[in-house]
Chain length 362, copies 4
C-alpha cells in the first residue's frame, strides 16, 4: 500500500520515546511502515547499522519483527532517503530549538515533545533561557526563531483541534500542563470561576517525569518512601498554564510534587465560583467542552485516581462541590508518558493527518 | 527510685500503639516501669497471662526484657491493682467515648489518641456521630459527656502548653490536623493572612494513617503505584482545623490524599497575605510562635520533605514566597504515627507531668 | 453471527479476571463477540441487568463500548441462551470443582484457571483437600471427579500442545508453576541435570498473586518495604512442579516469597549438570525445546528482569553458568496475571480452537 | 576529658556513614564526645569550617547540638590534633587500601567498612583488583599491604570475638556476607551439612546497598516495581563466604538480587544434612553457637521477615525443615546499613574497647 505516511522518531531512548515507539509500531494506519529511529550512535554501533531497539528497551522486544529495528545515526540525509514526512522530536528543548527550523525548511512536519515552541509570550519563555533569543545572538537567528514560533500550534486537540489539522509544527504540551489545563480551561472559558480569589493547582507526578538520566533526585533512595514539593512559584510549565487557561500570573499558584511511583500525574485543583453551582451545572460545562474529545473521560461528581489512567491514553477528570456550591475541588489524572507526552503526540498526528483522533489510542 | 509514674496503654496492637509502646519503654523517666498493656485477650491467651508483645509486633522484641511484656485482659481492676496513674487510649473513638468518663471518675489521668474529645463545637462533632449525644439517649449520659468534654484540653503543646500542664484529660490531635494547624496557626494568629481569599490545605498521608484492619483501600494493589483524593469537603479532621486555626468553614478547603508509602504526611498550604511579606518577616512569625517548642523544626525559606521527618518526633515547616510577597506556599511534614499520634502523646505526658517537653523524644 | 466463538468468563472481578476480560475484548478472532460475564450479582444490581464492568474495574472503561458490558447473574440458562461454547473459570478451586463436571456435561469447553484439575496424582491433590475425594462422600461424586480429571489437560502449550488442541477441559497452570516448569523442564527432559544433587527453585511474586480479598498479608503495611518467604516445603504449586518437570519430591525444593510490587514473578533456579555444559549447549537445549513456542523469549547467557515481562504475555528465560560448566543459575520471569494466568488461558483457547497460538497476545 | 574515647568517621556522606554517625552520637560511652567527621571539603565550605552535617543528612538535624557538627577537611593533622584514637572508614576500598597502613603507623585503631582488608586469600581478593598487589608495583608497597593484612581481623564478633578484642585493624564484613555467614557457619561448624550436595544462598537486598552515587541501576525507574539478579557466580562478597563459612567454591552458589525497597537484606539458604535433623536439633546448634551473641535473634522453626530487622541492629535467623529432616531452608534477615555495616562496626568497637557488646545498639 502506497499511502502510508513515513514517520521518524528522534529520542527513542527516553521514557516518552519508548512509549511513542510502541504506539507508532502498533498504529493501524502505519502497519508495515515502522518509524525511522534516529539519534546519537557511536562508531561501534554505527558499524552494525545502529543500536537494536531491543537493547535500548528490552520490553519492546517481541518475536515478530520489532527486534530488527534499530536507532540509526541521525542525519538529514537519512530522513530524506527514507522519505520521512512527519518527524517526532523527543529531545531536550535546546536540540528542538536548533533542529525544528531546519526540519521545517526541508518540508518536514514536526511534532516536538519538548518545551521549545510551546510559549507565545517571550516573558513566559524566560525560564527556558533560549540561547537564540539572547542579546548577543545574530539577528537572523532571532528572526528565524520568531518565524518558527509563529508557525507553532499548541498541540492540545481539545483546545486547538482546527489549527492542529493544518499545522506544520506542533508543540506538544507538558505533562503537568496537560493535566491542569484540561481540568481548568472549560471552567474558565465558561466564565464561572472567580479568578480574583485565586486558583490553586497542586500537582503530583511519578518519577518518570524527571527523565532517564540518573540524578540525585531520581535515585531510588531519594524518591522512594518520600514526597517533596519543588519548583514552587517557578516551575517552567507555569507559562503554558497562563497562556492556555487564560489567567494572569497572580490568579493561579502551581506546585508540583515528586511522587514515589514510576508514572502518573494527579492534579488537585481548587476554584471559587462567581455564582453557586450544582454538580449538574459543572458536569454540563465539562460535557459541552469535551463533547467531541475522545481522549478525555469525565467522572462527573466522583473522583478519578492515578491507577485508572496509568497505561491508558486518557485524561480523567472528576470533581467535588462544597455544600453551598461556591467552591470546587477538581481532580485530574493522566499518564505523564502517554496523554502527558507520547499518546498526545500521536493524537496530534492523527488530527494533523486527518485520521480518526483516537486511532491507535484505544 | 520510687517516684516513677505508672502508665498503661490500651490499643497497643495498632500502628500508633506500637510506636507508643516503643517510646514509653525507652523513656528516661520511666526506666524500670514499663507500661501496663491492656486490651482484648481471648481465653486461650488469658490462660498464659496475655499476648506477648513480641507476637503482636515482632520488631518490638529484643533480648533484654521487653520480650516478657504482654497485653493483659483489660479491666479497671487490673489498672488499679498496678497503680496506673496515666492511661493512654489508642482505641477507636467509640471506645474512648465510653471509657474516658469512667477513667476520670476513678482518678486516672487520660491521654486519648482518638477523636472522641477533640471538638468543642457540637456541629463539628457531627461527623463522629457520637451515640451519647443522640436525641434518644438518657439525659445523664449526655450530661456526663458534656462534663467530660469540658475537662478536655486539645493536646497540642505548641498551642496549649499551660492548659495541658494541669489537665486530667488530653485529647491528642489528629495526624492531618497536626500538620495543618502547626503550619497555619502562627500566620493566622499574627493576623497577616487574608482569610477572605481562602486557604487551601492539600494533604498527603502514608497508608498507616488508614489503620491496621485490612480493607479494600489498604490492600497493596489499591495503594501501591497510586494516588487518590478522598473525604473532600467532608474529612472529619476538618473540625479540628477550624477550631484550632481559628477560621470559618468557608475560609479553608482541606483535601487529604492517600500516598503509596507506609508513613509520613506532607501538607501543602496556600495562603494570601493582607500585606506583602518577606522571607524574613514570615520566618519571624514562625520563630516567635515556636520559640519555646522543641518538637518543631523550622526550615525557613526552604522546604522539608517527608523523608526528613519520618521516624522522627518532629514537625518540619518551611515555605516559599511569591515574587511580590502576596502569596505563600507552606510545606509541613511529620510522621503520622509519631508527631501525628504517639510522640505527641508522650510530649503531652511530659508537659502534664512536669517533665522536660522533649524528654524521651530526641 | 458467522464463525465467532462465544466465550464466557466467570470471575471477572478478580485481578486475573480483569486481564482476561481485556484480552478477550481485544482478541482479533472475537471482534464483535464480547464474552458473557457472569457471577454473583445481588438483587439490586440484577434489577439493572448486572454490575457494569466499568464499576468493577474502572481501568476497563473506555468510550467506545465496553462501558456497556455487565456482569450478569450466573446460571446455566444464561450461558445456554447466549450460545456460550467456551467457558473460562477464574474462580476458587472449590467452585471449579463443582461447576466443571456440569459444564462438560452440558457440552461446554472449559478453561479453568484454578488448581482444581491440574494434578494427576491424588497425593499431590491433598493440599487442596478436595471435599469430593473425602472418605465420607457419595461414591458417584468421586466417580464423577475421577472421570472429569481424566479429561483434563494441563494447559501449558509449550509442553502439551497436541493434547490441548483436542481438549474439552484445560487446567490452566499456576503462576509460580509456569515460571519454574518452563525454565526446568527443557533441561530435565534433555537428561543433563544431576537430579541427585537437588534442584532449588527460589521464586518471588508480586502481591496480586495473593488475590483481591483484603487480608493481613495483602495490607500495604505488611507487603511494602518487606520481603518474606512462605509456604516453605508446603506450597500447593509443588505438585504441579513434580508432575510436569518429572522429578521426585526429594529432588527439588521450592520456596515462594512475597515481593513488594504489584505484579510479576522472578524464579531463580539452581541446577547441577551431569556433565560440564557450555553456554552454547544450554542455549541449544532451550532453543530446541521452544522452537515452535511464540510466548517464550530466550535471553541466552544474559538474565531477564521482572520489568521486561510485566504487562507482556511472555515468559522470559536466561541463565548463567559456573566457570567449570557444572552448575547453572537460571532466571525465569513472567507476569503472574498474564503468562501466569490470563494470557496463558487465551493461549490455550487459541490452540484449542485452532487459532494462531499467539493471536491477540502480541 | 576523662575516659571518653575520641572517634572519627571518614565517609559520613554515604548511607552507612549517616547511620554510623547516628549510632556514635547516641552511644552511651561517647556522650559529650561526638566523632570528628572528616572528608573531602571544597574551599568554600572549608572557609566556614566544613559542611554542616544537617546539610548532608537533614534527618540528622536536631535542635540540641548535632546541628553544629560539620564534616571537616580530612588530614592526619586534624585527627591528631583532636586526639582521635579510633578511626572508622566508610570509604571505597581503594581509599581504605591507601589510608589504613598510614593510620596504623600513626597508632590509630581502625575499623574499616570497605572490602579492602577482609580477605586472607589472594585468589579471593582478585575481584577487588587491588593495585598494590599488581606485578608492576614497588615491592615495599606489597610488603606493607601484606603486613597490614596480617593485622586485620574479620569483624564479625559472633565468630571472632576474642581476636577483635585485641585488634588494631578490623575489617568490617560485607552486608550480604553477614547475612549468609551468620546463617550457615553454625551448621557447617557443627558438621551436619552435606557439603557435597551443595549449598545455595539466594540473597535479596534493598537499593541502599548499591550506594549513594546515582547510576542507571539506582534510578527509581530501574529499581521500582522490579527484581533482578546480578553478579551471579561473580559477586565480590563470595570470597568472604568461602573463607568465613569454611567451604570450597564448588560447594556454594551465591546469587544477589536487587529488591525494590530502600533497605534490608533477606537471604534464603538451602542445605542438605548428612543425617536427618529435627527442629530441636537444628535450633540447638544455633542456640549453642550464638549463646553469648546479643545481636542475633533466633526465630527457631519460624521465619523472620525483612521488616522485623530493618532499622534494628539485629540479625534474625529462622528455618524450616523438610518432612524427613534431610533438607532445611534457612531465612536470614538484617538491615544492610546496620548489622550489615554501621551497627556491626559499633559492635566491633564495643568489643575492641571492652565495652558491653550491645551498648548503644539496643
Amino acid at each position: 500500500m502506497t499511502d502510508k505516511v513515513q514517520t521518524a522518531v528522534v529520542g527513542v531512548s527516553g521514557y516518552a520515546g519508548a512509549e511513542l515507539a510502541r504506539l507508532l509500531l502498533h498504529h493501524p494506519r502505519l502497519k508495515g511502515a515502522p518509524p525511522v529511529f534516529a539519534g546519537r550512535v557511536d562508531a561501534k554501533d554505527a558499524a552494525r547499522g545502529g543500536i537494536p531497539l531491543a537493547e535500548i528497551h528490552p520490553q519492546l522486544a517481541d518475536r515478530n519483527g520489532s527486534a530488527d529495528l534499530k536507532q540509526e545515526p541521525l542525519s538529514w540525509e537519512l530522513l530524506q532517503s527514507r522519505g520521512v514526512e512527519v518527524l517526532f522530536l523527543a529531545t531536550p528543548h535546546e536540540q528542538s530549538r536548533e533542529w525544528v527550523p531546519e526540519a521545517l525548511a526541508r518540508g518536514l512536519r514536526v511534532i516536538d515533545l519538548s518545551g521549545a515552541w510551546r510559549l507565545n509570550e517571550a516573558d513566559n519563555r524566560a525560564v527556558y533561557a533560549f540561547a537564540d533569543e539572547g542579546p548577543n545572538r545574530p539577528a537572523e537567528i532571532k528572526v528565524r526563531a520568531t518565524a518558527t514560533q509563529a508557525q507553532a500550534v499548541y498541540g492540545m486537540p481539545e483546545l486547538h483541534r482546527a489549527q492542529i489539522a493544518g499545522a506544520r509544527l506542533i508543540a506538544n504540551p507538558g505533562c503537568y500542563a496537560t493535566s491542569v489545563i484540561l481540568a481548568l480551561r472549560p471552567l474558565v472559558a465558561a466564565g464561572i470561576v472567580d479568578l480574583d480569589r485565586g486558583i490553586v493547582a497542586d500537582s503530583k507526578s511519578g518519577v518518570s517525569g524527571a527523565g532517564k538520566p540518573p540524578t540525585a533526585n531520581t535515585h531510588f533512595m531519594y524518591a522512594a518512601d518520600n514526597l517533596s514539593a519543588y519548583g514552587v512559584f517557578t516551575h517552567r510549565h507555569t507559562g503554558e498554564l497562563l497562556e492556555q487557561i487564560g489567567v494572569g500570573a497572580s490568579q493561579i499558584v502551581f506546585t508540583p510534587h515528586l511522587l514515589p511511583i514510576p508514572r502518573g500525574i494527579l492534579s488537585t485543583l481548587y476554584v471559587h465560583f462567581r455564582e453557586p453551582q450544582t454538580a449538574a451545572s459543572v458536569s454540563r460545562v465539562y460535557q459541552d467542552f469535551f463533547a467531541t474529545s475522545p481522549m478525555v473521560r469525565l467522572y462527573g461528581h466522583t473522583l478519578p485516581q492515578i491507577q485508572f489512567s496509568v497505561r491508558t491514553n486518557y485524561a480523567d477528570i472528576g470533581f467535588q462541590l462544597d455544600a453551598d456550591g461556591r467552591r470546587a475541588v477538581i481532580v485530574s489524572c493522566l499518564d505523564n508518558l502517554l496523554k502527558g507526552a507520547s499518546s498526545q503526540a500521536v493524537q496530534n498526528m492523527n488530527v494533523m493527518l486527518g485520521y480518526g483522533e483516537a486511532e491507535g489510542l484505544e
